[in-house]
């Protein structure tokens, strides 16, 4: 019974995620696209909770949906694009390429997955304490390097925003 409930919940969140993702790429209004991406991220966060990855689920909501996409919305509304660009007028070889790339990738993926995992699933609880223990012992150097990366990105964004094109 519990297995069935987990599968039903998985199908709900995965379905919501895929519907949201398709709406992201097919919506006409860019604001609708970003809001559908927020919905998709909520669904992905639900899947993370189902996988016992609680810390990552909350980080996804707070940082990704709550900061990155809000920044996106800021810039989108700041630019005031006016009339939304028509979406479906790209040259047809691009559509064909996109379709073939998608189908090819899916075929390769299904072929790899259908060989099945070698061992049975183990379970681990992705709590904040557990991730913190790993992050600050084995992954300390990448953690510090990420802070340098953050500094570089902030400086880069400020420099770009202050630049003026030659008139």
């Amino acid at each position: 019974m519990r297995r069935l409930m987990e599968r039903v919940v998985f199908l709900f969140f995965a379905g919501l995620m895929l519907v949201g993702a398709i709406s992201v790429i097919l919506a006409r209004n860019p604001v609708y696209s970003v809001l559908c991406l927020v919905l998709t991220m909520f669904a992905i966060s639900g899947l993370f909770v189902l996988l016992h990855a609680y810390f990552i689920a909350v980080i996804q909501l707070v940082v990704y949906a709550g900061a990155v996409l809000v920044l996106f919305l800021f810039v989108l509304m700041l630019l005031d694009l006016g009339k939304p660009l028509p979406v479906f007028v790209r040259p047809w070889p691009l559509w064909l390429g996109a379709g073939l790339a998608g189908l090819g990738f899916l075929a390769a993926l299904v072929q790899v997955i259908s060989r099945g995992p070698a061992t049975a699933s183990r379970s681990v609880e992705g709590t904040t304490a557990a991730i913190g223990k790993l992050l600050f012992s084995q992954y300390l150097v990448p953690f510090e390097v990420t802070s340098l990366l953050l500094l570089a990105a902030i400086i880069g964004a400020v420099v770009l925003a202050k630049s003026r094109w030659p008139a």
Binding site: L18, I25, Y64
Partner: protein
């Protein structure tokens, strides 16, 4: 996890393909960035699913770093798009030809 691992990986793969197709068919530079976000989220889902399957947390720490780097990349990408808008007054990537020879 009692939903089988293959389900999670297939969902992640479908999300990846949707993001890839979205990057290829949209003309607005901001929408292309959204496609990149979908790609990153698909790989995040794949990492977390494999981490739960293996029983250790290395995949989730990698996802922590991926989310950080994605936030940075969106910040810089949006700064670049703002500059493009200042230059071109539109965001149609088909008509941005400065780098073409």
């Amino acid at each position: 996890m009692s939903a089988p691992l293959s389900w999670y990986l297939i969902a992640s793969g479908c999300l990846f393909v949707i993001g890839l197709a979205g990057m290829m068919i949209r003309r607005n530079a901001l929408m292309i960035l959204l496609g990149i976000e979908l790609l990153l989220n698909a790989s995040n889902l794949s990492f977390v699913a494999m981490s739960a399957h293996r029983g250790d947390l290395h995949g989730q720490v990698v996802v922590f770093f991926i989310i950080t780097v994605a936030a940075l990349e969106v910040g810089i990408g949006l700064a670049i798009i703002l500059l493009l808008h200042r230059l071109y007054r539109h965001l149609n990537v088909d008509e941005m030809r400065l780098l073409k020879w």
